[in-house]
Protein backbone atom coordinates (compact mmCIF):
# COMPACT_ATOMS: atom_id res chain seq x y z
CA UNK A 1 0.00 0.00 0.00
CA UNK A 2 1.19 3.48 -0.71
CA UNK A 3 0.03 6.90 0.28
CA UNK A 4 0.82 10.46 -0.65
CA UNK A 5 1.55 13.32 1.67
CA UNK A 6 -1.06 16.04 1.96
CA UNK A 7 1.26 18.64 0.45
CA UNK A 8 1.24 16.59 -2.76
CA UNK A 9 5.00 16.96 -3.21
CA UNK A 10 6.15 13.61 -1.90
CA UNK A 11 5.05 10.03 -1.93
CA UNK A 12 4.93 7.58 0.93
CA UNK A 13 5.60 3.89 0.51
CA UNK A 14 4.50 1.13 2.81
CA UNK A 15 7.03 -0.05 5.42
CA UNK A 16 8.35 -2.83 3.25
CA UNK A 17 8.17 -1.01 -0.07
CA UNK A 18 10.83 1.52 -1.07
CA UNK A 19 8.99 2.21 -4.34
CA UNK A 20 6.22 4.74 -4.80
CA UNK A 21 2.98 3.99 -6.58
CA UNK A 22 -0.40 5.64 -6.73
CA UNK A 23 -2.56 5.17 -3.67
CA UNK A 24 -5.10 6.72 -1.35
CA UNK A 25 -4.48 10.24 -0.10
CA UNK A 26 -3.91 10.69 3.62
CA UNK A 27 -6.15 13.74 3.57
CA UNK A 28 -9.08 11.39 3.09
CA UNK A 29 -10.87 10.49 6.32
CA UNK A 30 -8.96 7.86 8.27
CA UNK A 31 -10.45 4.41 8.46
CA UNK A 32 -10.19 4.61 12.23
CA UNK A 33 -10.33 7.56 14.58
CA UNK A 34 -6.82 8.62 15.61
CA UNK A 35 -7.74 8.40 19.26
CA UNK A 36 -9.51 5.07 18.98
CA UNK A 37 -7.74 1.98 20.33
CA UNK A 38 -7.06 -1.03 18.13
CA UNK A 39 -10.37 -2.73 17.64
CA UNK A 40 -9.60 -6.37 16.90
CA UNK A 41 -7.48 -8.97 18.68
CA UNK A 42 -5.38 -9.44 15.55
CA UNK A 43 -4.64 -5.71 15.44
CA UNK A 44 -3.80 -5.77 19.14
CA UNK A 45 -1.18 -8.40 18.39
CA UNK A 46 0.61 -5.95 16.11
CA UNK A 47 0.84 -3.12 18.64
CA UNK A 48 4.30 -1.58 18.76
CA UNK A 49 7.26 -1.56 16.42
CA UNK A 50 8.36 -5.16 16.96
CA UNK A 51 7.96 -8.15 14.69
CA UNK A 52 9.13 -11.74 14.67
CA UNK A 53 12.27 -10.77 12.82
CA UNK A 54 13.22 -8.00 15.23
CA UNK A 55 12.59 -10.26 18.23
CA UNK A 56 15.00 -12.85 16.82
CA UNK A 57 17.47 -10.08 16.03
CA UNK A 58 17.10 -8.77 19.59
CA UNK A 59 17.78 -12.17 21.13
CA UNK A 60 20.85 -12.71 18.96
CA UNK A 61 22.05 -9.22 19.87
CA UNK A 62 21.60 -9.81 23.61
CA UNK A 63 23.57 -13.06 23.37
CA UNK A 64 26.26 -11.23 21.44
CA UNK A 65 26.42 -8.47 24.06
CA UNK A 66 26.89 -11.06 26.82
CA UNK A 67 29.66 -12.86 24.96
CA UNK A 68 31.25 -9.60 23.88
CA UNK A 69 31.29 -8.30 27.43
CA UNK A 70 32.98 -11.52 28.57
CA UNK A 71 35.62 -11.26 25.86
CA UNK A 72 36.27 -7.57 26.47
CA UNK A 73 36.17 -7.47 30.27
CA UNK A 74 37.48 -10.93 31.26
CA UNK A 75 39.15 -12.87 28.48
CA UNK A 76 41.07 -10.15 26.65
CA UNK A 77 44.57 -9.35 27.98
CA UNK A 78 45.77 -6.03 29.32
CA UNK A 79 47.51 -3.63 26.98
CA UNK A 80 51.21 -3.21 27.77
CA UNK A 81 50.88 0.59 27.69
CA UNK A 82 47.26 1.32 28.62
CA UNK A 83 46.64 -1.55 31.02
CA UNK A 84 42.95 -2.28 31.65
CA UNK A 85 41.87 1.03 30.12
CA UNK A 86 42.15 -0.68 26.74
CA UNK A 87 38.84 -2.39 27.56
CA UNK A 88 37.12 0.95 26.94
CA UNK A 89 38.23 0.79 23.32
CA UNK A 90 36.15 -2.37 22.76
CA UNK A 91 33.05 -0.17 22.91
CA UNK A 92 34.57 3.13 21.76
CA UNK A 93 35.80 1.93 18.35
CA UNK A 94 32.65 -0.07 17.41
CA UNK A 95 30.36 2.78 18.43
CA UNK A 96 32.23 5.40 16.43
CA UNK A 97 32.30 3.00 13.46
CA UNK A 98 28.52 2.65 13.53
CA UNK A 99 28.16 6.40 14.01
CA UNK A 100 30.03 6.73 10.71
CA UNK A 101 27.73 4.15 9.12
CA UNK A 102 24.70 6.08 10.35
CA UNK A 103 26.03 9.32 8.87
CA UNK A 104 26.81 7.68 5.53
CA UNK A 105 23.37 6.07 5.45
CA UNK A 106 21.79 9.45 6.18
CA UNK A 107 23.66 11.06 3.31
CA UNK A 108 22.76 8.27 0.88
CA UNK A 109 19.10 8.30 1.94
CA UNK A 110 19.00 12.11 1.71
CA UNK A 111 20.41 12.02 -1.81
CA UNK A 112 17.92 9.38 -2.92
CA UNK A 113 15.11 11.37 -1.29
CA UNK A 114 16.08 14.50 -3.23
CA UNK A 115 16.05 12.39 -6.38
CA UNK A 116 12.88 10.32 -5.90
CA UNK A 117 10.95 12.35 -3.30
CA UNK A 118 10.07 9.10 -1.55
CA UNK A 119 9.09 9.32 2.11
CA UNK A 120 10.58 5.86 2.59
CA UNK A 121 14.05 7.37 2.07
CA UNK A 122 13.19 10.48 4.07
CA UNK A 123 12.28 8.34 7.06
CA UNK A 124 15.40 6.24 6.59
CA UNK A 125 17.54 9.37 6.67
CA UNK A 126 15.79 10.68 9.79
CA UNK A 127 16.04 7.38 11.66
CA UNK A 128 19.71 6.79 10.86
CA UNK A 129 20.62 10.41 11.69
CA UNK A 130 19.08 10.19 15.14
CA UNK A 131 20.88 6.94 15.91
CA UNK A 132 24.12 8.39 14.53
CA UNK A 133 23.66 11.37 16.85
CA UNK A 134 23.28 9.09 19.88
CA UNK A 135 26.33 7.04 18.84
CA UNK A 136 28.44 10.15 18.15
CA UNK A 137 27.55 11.64 21.53
CA UNK A 138 28.47 8.32 23.16
CA UNK A 139 31.73 8.32 21.20
CA UNK A 140 32.71 11.67 22.65
CA UNK A 141 31.75 10.73 26.21
CA UNK A 142 33.52 7.36 26.10
CA UNK A 143 36.53 8.99 24.46
CA UNK A 144 36.72 11.56 27.24
CA UNK A 145 36.60 8.79 29.85
CA UNK A 146 39.37 6.94 28.00
CA UNK A 147 41.41 10.15 27.58
CA UNK A 148 41.47 11.03 31.29
CA UNK A 149 43.68 8.10 32.43
CA UNK A 150 45.53 7.87 29.09
CA UNK A 151 46.30 11.51 28.26
CA UNK A 152 45.72 13.00 31.71
CA UNK A 153 42.92 15.30 30.54
CA UNK A 154 39.22 14.87 29.85
CA UNK A 155 39.31 17.00 26.72
CA UNK A 156 41.84 18.57 24.39
CA UNK A 157 41.16 20.59 21.23
CA UNK A 158 42.73 17.90 19.11
CA UNK A 159 41.83 17.60 15.41
CA UNK A 160 40.00 14.27 15.86
CA UNK A 161 38.07 15.37 18.93
CA UNK A 162 37.17 18.78 17.53
CA UNK A 163 36.02 17.40 14.17
CA UNK A 164 33.94 14.75 15.95
CA UNK A 165 32.33 17.47 18.06
CA UNK A 166 31.54 19.36 14.85
CA UNK A 167 29.98 16.19 13.44
CA UNK A 168 27.76 15.97 16.52
CA UNK A 169 26.72 19.60 16.06
CA UNK A 170 25.90 18.91 12.41
CA UNK A 171 23.75 15.93 13.39
CA UNK A 172 21.95 18.05 16.00
CA UNK A 173 21.42 20.69 13.33
CA UNK A 174 19.98 18.08 10.97
CA UNK A 175 17.52 16.92 13.64
CA UNK A 176 16.65 20.54 14.48
CA UNK A 177 15.86 21.27 10.82
CA UNK A 178 13.50 18.28 10.82
CA UNK A 179 11.57 19.86 13.69
CA UNK A 180 11.18 23.29 12.13
CA UNK A 181 7.52 24.10 11.50
CA UNK A 182 6.96 23.92 7.76
CA UNK A 183 5.24 21.83 5.11
CA UNK A 184 6.35 18.20 5.18
CA UNK A 185 7.97 18.32 1.75
CA UNK A 186 9.82 21.57 2.48
CA UNK A 187 11.06 20.26 5.81
CA UNK A 188 12.28 17.02 4.30
CA UNK A 189 14.03 18.82 1.45
CA UNK A 190 15.86 21.19 3.82
CA UNK A 191 16.88 18.29 6.06
CA UNK A 192 18.09 16.26 3.08
CA UNK A 193 20.34 19.12 1.98
CA UNK A 194 21.87 19.22 5.47
CA UNK A 195 22.14 15.44 5.37
CA UNK A 196 24.34 15.65 2.29
CA UNK A 197 26.98 17.40 4.41
CA UNK A 198 27.41 14.45 6.77
CA UNK A 199 29.49 12.23 4.48
CA UNK A 200 32.18 14.88 3.78
CA UNK A 201 32.30 15.59 7.51
CA UNK A 202 32.79 11.90 8.32
CA UNK A 203 35.65 11.81 5.81
CA UNK A 204 37.25 14.82 7.52
CA UNK A 205 36.88 13.19 10.96
CA UNK A 206 38.36 9.93 9.74
CA UNK A 207 41.30 11.60 7.98
CA UNK A 208 41.95 14.22 10.65
CA UNK A 209 44.63 12.11 12.36
CA UNK A 210 46.48 11.94 9.05
CA UNK A 211 46.04 15.49 7.82
CA UNK A 212 46.89 17.27 11.08
CA UNK A 213 49.19 16.62 14.01
CA UNK A 214 46.95 14.81 16.43
CA UNK A 215 47.16 13.43 19.95
CA UNK A 216 44.67 10.75 18.92
CA UNK A 217 46.11 7.47 17.71
CA UNK A 218 45.98 6.66 14.03
CA UNK A 219 44.45 3.76 12.16
CA UNK A 220 44.79 0.37 13.87
CA UNK A 221 42.23 -2.10 12.51
CA UNK A 222 42.39 -1.02 8.88
CA UNK A 223 46.17 -0.78 8.86
CA UNK A 224 46.47 -4.33 7.56
CA UNK A 225 49.95 -3.93 6.11
CA UNK A 226 51.46 -3.23 9.52
CA UNK A 227 49.14 -4.69 12.17
CA UNK A 228 49.88 -3.30 15.62
CA UNK A 229 47.34 -5.18 17.68
CA UNK A 230 47.45 -8.50 19.56
CA UNK A 231 45.48 -11.34 17.95
CA UNK A 232 43.05 -11.84 20.82
CA UNK A 233 42.52 -8.10 21.10
CA UNK A 234 41.81 -7.95 17.36
CA UNK A 235 39.31 -10.81 17.60
CA UNK A 236 37.58 -9.16 20.57
CA UNK A 237 37.43 -5.82 18.77
CA UNK A 238 36.04 -7.32 15.55
CA UNK A 239 33.46 -9.31 17.53
CA UNK A 240 32.47 -6.17 19.43
CA UNK A 241 32.05 -4.32 16.14
CA UNK A 242 29.74 -7.06 14.87
CA UNK A 243 27.65 -6.89 18.06
CA UNK A 244 27.37 -3.11 17.94
CA UNK A 245 26.37 -3.44 14.27
CA UNK A 246 23.51 -5.71 15.40
CA UNK A 247 22.52 -3.12 18.03
CA UNK A 248 22.55 -0.46 15.34
CA UNK A 249 20.42 -2.60 13.01
CA UNK A 250 17.87 -3.34 15.75
CA UNK A 251 17.62 0.35 16.67
CA UNK A 252 17.37 1.38 13.01
CA UNK A 253 14.47 -0.97 12.25
CA UNK A 254 12.52 0.08 15.34
CA UNK A 255 13.29 3.79 14.88
CA UNK A 256 12.27 3.58 11.24
CA UNK A 257 8.93 2.06 12.19
CA UNK A 258 8.46 4.69 14.91
CA UNK A 259 9.11 7.46 12.38
CA UNK A 260 6.61 5.80 10.04
CA UNK A 261 4.00 5.79 12.82
CA UNK A 262 4.74 9.46 13.54
CA UNK A 263 4.10 10.26 9.86
CA UNK A 264 0.80 8.38 9.93
CA UNK A 265 -0.39 9.99 13.17
CA UNK A 266 0.58 13.43 11.86
CA UNK A 267 -1.44 12.78 8.71
CA UNK A 268 -4.44 11.51 10.66
CA UNK A 269 -4.32 14.47 13.06
CA UNK A 270 -4.17 16.83 10.10
CA UNK A 271 -7.15 15.07 8.52
CA UNK A 272 -9.13 15.40 11.73
CA UNK A 273 -8.19 19.06 12.13
CA UNK A 274 -9.33 19.80 8.58
CA UNK A 275 -12.62 17.96 9.13
CA UNK A 276 -13.19 19.81 12.41
CA UNK A 277 -12.41 23.17 10.81
CA UNK A 278 -14.76 22.46 7.91
CA UNK A 279 -17.48 21.44 10.34
CA UNK A 280 -16.99 24.69 12.26
CA UNK A 281 -17.30 26.64 9.01
CA UNK A 282 -20.54 24.84 8.18
CA UNK A 283 -19.23 22.83 5.24
CA UNK A 284 -20.44 19.36 4.37
CA UNK A 285 -17.70 16.71 4.47
CA UNK A 286 -15.86 16.37 1.21
CA UNK A 287 -13.89 18.59 -1.09
CA UNK A 288 -15.57 21.50 -2.85
CA UNK A 289 -18.78 21.09 -0.90
CA UNK A 290 -21.01 24.13 -0.59
CA UNK A 291 -21.44 25.70 2.83
CA UNK A 292 -24.46 24.48 4.75
CA UNK A 293 -25.48 27.93 5.93
CA UNK A 294 -24.77 31.09 3.95
CA UNK A 295 -24.23 34.37 5.80
CA UNK A 296 -27.53 36.18 6.23
CA UNK A 297 -26.18 39.65 6.96
CA UNK A 298 -26.78 41.86 3.90
CA UNK A 299 -23.65 43.21 2.28
CA UNK A 300 -21.28 40.74 3.97
CA UNK A 301 -19.51 38.27 1.70
CA UNK A 302 -19.01 34.66 2.61
CA UNK A 303 -15.54 33.90 4.03
Amino acid sequence: MTTQRSDATTTTAAPSEPTSNAGPHPASPPAQSPAAPAATPSAEGRIGTGSRGTRILGLVTLAGIALGAYLALVSSPQDENMGDVVRILYIHVPIVSMAYVGCVLTTVASAVYLWKKSVWWDITAAASAEIAMVFTALTLVIGMIWGRPTWGVWWVWDARLTSTAMLLLLLLGYLAVRRLPSAAGTRSKRAAIVGLLLLPNVFIVNRSVTWWRSLHQGTTILNTLQPKIHDQMAITLVFAMAVVALVFAWLLVHRWRLAWLEEQVLGHDLDQAILDRRAEAGFEPGYGAAPIAQPTTPGVDAP
Partner: protein, 44 residues
Protein backbone atom coordinates in the same frame (compact mmCIF):
# COMPACT_ATOMS: atom_id res chain seq x y z
CA UNK B 1 40.19 6.54 40.27
CA UNK B 2 41.59 3.17 39.18
CA UNK B 3 41.66 1.94 35.59
CA UNK B 4 38.72 -0.34 36.32
CA UNK B 5 36.78 2.67 37.58
CA UNK B 6 37.10 4.35 34.19
CA UNK B 7 36.23 1.08 32.43
CA UNK B 8 33.13 0.62 34.57
CA UNK B 9 32.09 4.24 34.00
CA UNK B 10 32.40 3.95 30.22
CA UNK B 11 30.58 0.63 29.96
CA UNK B 12 27.83 1.69 32.38
CA UNK B 13 27.14 4.95 30.55
CA UNK B 14 27.09 3.18 27.17
CA UNK B 15 24.70 0.45 28.27
CA UNK B 16 22.48 2.91 30.15
CA UNK B 17 22.17 5.30 27.20
CA UNK B 18 21.47 2.56 24.67
CA UNK B 19 18.94 0.82 26.92
CA UNK B 20 17.19 4.13 27.67
CA UNK B 21 17.05 4.99 23.96
CA UNK B 22 15.72 1.54 23.05
CA UNK B 23 13.06 1.71 25.78
CA UNK B 24 11.99 5.17 24.60
CA UNK B 25 11.58 3.87 21.04
CA UNK B 26 9.57 0.84 22.18
CA UNK B 27 7.29 2.79 24.54
CA UNK B 28 6.62 5.58 22.04
CA UNK B 29 6.09 3.03 19.27
CA UNK B 30 3.51 1.17 21.34
CA UNK B 31 1.77 4.43 22.16
CA UNK B 32 1.61 5.67 18.57
CA UNK B 33 0.71 2.31 17.05
CA UNK B 34 -2.59 2.36 18.96
CA UNK B 35 -3.54 5.48 16.98
CA UNK B 36 -2.74 4.03 13.57
CA UNK B 37 -5.01 1.59 11.72
CA UNK B 38 -3.58 -1.95 11.55
CA UNK B 39 -3.32 -1.81 7.75
CA UNK B 40 -0.85 1.08 8.09
CA UNK B 41 1.53 -0.84 10.36
CA UNK B 42 2.14 -4.12 8.61
CA UNK B 43 5.76 -4.62 9.46
CA UNK B 44 8.26 -6.68 7.57
Amino acid sequence: MSDWGYVAMAWTITVAVLVAYAVWIIVRGRSLSRRVPPEDRRWL
